[in-house]
């Protein structure tokens, strides 16, 4: 298993002086979005950015007026309009010949659910926007209810005995729009994360990044275990790390070992999967099915199935 370390990239000068997420923000300890934003500043050190944040955890992260914990110009949009507000910003930047990168930072609710139409429309128009979805698999901002990003078997405040339906395939949906770039990001794989963020910043047109974002509050996990949980999700094959170019060229970036041990660790380190009946065995068929699909799409060899 190839798991590179942060190849000597420590805090950049820009990161130290002008972080994307400043001290005083209101994120919970162990929030994956905090890690993401600091990684993003490293990737975007040379870019001028403007950010659109719909209603989500990030909408309260900035703190209260007139101070802001965000180190870049930011507009808080309504829940369903991040991609359209960003379209307006991007159009005016283009009219004025500015190289400003317009970035949406949205949770899974604003992406998978209420903002889906907006997102799809902006992708269809191929607007010059980088859309980043930090997916904590829950409506974290409202106390942790199920969203269509919540995986089957996870208990939430609105599905106390565990969600029944499987997680929506957001990258498949984005790929179907034939956008120039879509990728999933594992925060446990720093080099890969930085490379993708940089690539997405340098690409023009609609780009979509899907980030698994640990949420200690919703996942009922230890804040210090967040990155480890992402690593386990990747190892077990539960969270595939791959990228899609132009909606058709799939590249798998991290090869999981599909170990039952990793899956067991992933489930047992979070209380949201307790008493909901989800087991390693019940998850395996879905993991296998999705990986066969990914291998097919990426042109890799699909392993023969023993039961056929």
């Amino acid at each position: 298993m190839n798991e590179p370390v942060l190849n000597g990239i420590a805090l950049t000068e820009k990161d130290r002086r002008d972080p994307l997420l400043r001290p005083g923000n209101s994120n919970c300890g162990g929030c994956g979005m905090s890690n993401l934003m600091q990684m993003f500043r490293r990737a975007a050190a040379d870019h001028e950015l403007k950010m659109v944040v719909p209603a989500c955890c990030a909408a309260v992260t900035g703190g209260t007026f007139p101070q802001s914990a965000f180190g870049i110009p930011t507009i808080m949009s309504t829940f369903a309009s991040a991609a359209s507000v960003a379209s307006g910003l991007a159009a005016v930047a283009q009219l004025n010949g500015e190289g400003t990168r317009i970035v949406c930072l949205a949770g899974d609710g604003g992406t998978y659910d209420i903002g889906m139409g907006t997102l799809s429309a902006a992708a269809e128009r191929n607007e010059d926007i980088l859309y980043i979805c930090y997916d904590n698999e829950i409506y974290g901002n409202t106390g942790g209810q199920r969203s269509s990003a919540t995986p089957a078997g996870a208990a939430t405040t609105s599905t106390p005995s565990g969600k029944r339906e499987i997680k929506k395939d957001i990258l498949g949906i984005m790929a179907a729009h034939r956008i120039p770039y879509a990728a999933s990001i594992s925060l446990a794989h720093g080099d890969d994360t930085l490379r993708k963020l940089q690539y997405a910043l340098d690409t023009r047109g609609f780009r979509f990044l899907h980030v698994l974002s640990p949420c200690p509050t919703g996942w009922k996990s230890e804040p210090a275990m967040g990155i480890e949980l992402v690593r386990l999700a990747v190892r077990s094959g539960l969270f595939p790390v791959f990228e899609i170019f132009d909606g058709e060229r799939y590249v798998i970036n991290v090869e999981p070992d599909f170990s039952a041990e990793a899956l067991m660790m992933y489930l047992s380190l979070q209380r949201r999967f307790r008493n909901t009946g989800v087991t390693e065995e019940s998850l395996q068929p879905n993991i296998e099915r999705y990986w066969n699909y990914l291998r097919l799409m990426s042109g890799r060899i699909v392993p023969a199935r023993r039961d056929v």
Partner: protein, 386 residues
């Protein structure tokens, strides 16, 4: 200046096009649009125009049409959109946001009944949904007024003392699809009338956050600021009229259009095209020696309350005509203006032409005859017209 035949929808779109081109030396023009009857023609016309340093984005819903306008305006551009009825209702969340950000977006509304049951005809109930959101609101009675109002709305909305979005309403089909002569200025004149858009709070290089969370006392202070700015817009509009007159050689309509009202004992108060019919009724009754006058409320927000109070002084009977119903209450305009009349006056609420009924002079003559016989105001009454 040329005179051409235009529908009100096209007149609004042409005015927006002029306004968009006028901002080419600044941040440009950007508009998000989505079709809905009867405002569709307006967005179609806009999509067919070449605007130097401008872009029209054909979005997936009205909610996002306003979303694009918010983004464009937050980036400092001039922004315009148009909608009607359910489209406006779908857009309301972002309309509240646009007002909250204090962005000078201008929107043309072809008024139409909210459905279901589906009805595509005129009713002011859609734009009145925005009554309390902090948008400037104008109601026009002819195509020239629609054209002038859009230009004036940009100048008023973008004034640093005002800085808030503006709504330019026209009655669906009655105006939106009716061709009439409109005086069209030159681009050069519009350039002089509409200086570059400045959105002081626009997202530039400093790391400030627009629309973030506030504590109650901060929100209250912002509401108070917005409220003061809205009240002050009445004075600023007079300056806008002066500037308009200086450049275009004629004066755009006042916030209140009074017709033979000064010496009247009975007053008809209305908005939009109802006012035109009311003026004809006034002429008819004046011929019969009755002291009747009309007041058309063109600027609904901010409501020119002091002027209304002056106009209402000494009037014995006031018929307030609404093309809308606040269900269980009465006409919205009636609710707004009844307090301005003398305590002894009879201020009667008539809701007429609701959901697009065709209002003819005889309808108004009937209700005025009834009012003349009344000794006190009755309950608000919906006048059903065939």
């Amino acid at each position: 200046m040329s005179v051409e035949l235009f529908s009100a929808n096209h007149a609004a779109a042409l005015a927006a096009t002029f306004a968009g081109r006028a901002n080419r030396t600044a941040r440009g023009f950007c508009s998000g649009v989505y079709p809905i009857t009867p405002s569709t023609e307006c967005m179609e016309y806009l999509c067919g125009q070449k605007i130097e340093k401008g872009r029209v984005i054909r979005v997936d819903s009205e909610h996002n049409a306003m979303g694009v306008c918010i983004g464009a305006s937050a980036a400092g551009a001039r922004s315009f959109t148009t909608t009607s009825s359910n489209g406006l209702a779908y857009m309301v969340e972002n309309c509240a946001a646009a007002a909250g950000y204090r962005l000078p977006i201008v929107m043309s509304i072809a008024n139409r009944t909210l459905g279901p049951p589906w009805n595509i005809w005129a009713d002011h109930g859609d734009s009145l949904l925005l009554r309390d959101l902090g948008w400037l609101q104008f109601y026009s009675a002819d195509n020239q007024e629609v054209f002038d109002t859009v230009l004036c709305a940009f100048r008023l909305a973008e004034d640093p003392r005002v800085l808030m979005p503006a709504l330019c309403c026209m009655d669906g089909f009655i105006l939106s699809h009716t061709m009439a002569q409109v005086e069209i200025p030159t681009q050069d004149q519009v350039d002089r009338f509409l200086p570059s858009t400045e959105v002081p709070q626009r997202l530039d290089k400093t790391a400030h956050t627009l629309g973030q969370m506030e504590l109650p006392y901060q929100s209250a202070a912002h509401r108070a600021q917005h409220h003061r700015a809205m009240r002050g817009a009445r004075e600023v509009y007079a300056e806008v009229q002066d500037a308009f007159e200086e450049i275009f050689g004629r004066r755009p309509a006042d916030p209140l259009v009074a017709y033979r009202a000064e010496d009247a004992e009975t007053l008809i108060v209305s908005m939009g095209t109802l006012g035109v019919t009311a003026e004809r009724v006034v002429d008819l009754l004046r011929e019969q020696g009755q002291a009747v006058g009309s007041v058309r409320v063109r600027m609904f927000r901010p409501l020119p309350d002091a002027d209304l109070r002056k106009l209402f002084a000494g009037k014995k009977r006031v018929a307030v005509l609404d093309r809308d119903v606040s269900l269980g209450f009465g006409g919205v305009l009636w609710g707004e203006v009844r307090g301005f009349a003398d305590p002894a006056a009879i201020v009667q609420s008539y809701m007429i032409g609701v959901a697009g009924g065709d209002v003819r002079p005889e309808h108004m003559l009937d209700l005025l005859a009834e009012l003349e016989q009344s000794h006190e105001a009755g309950a608000p009454r919906i006048v059903e017209v065939a």
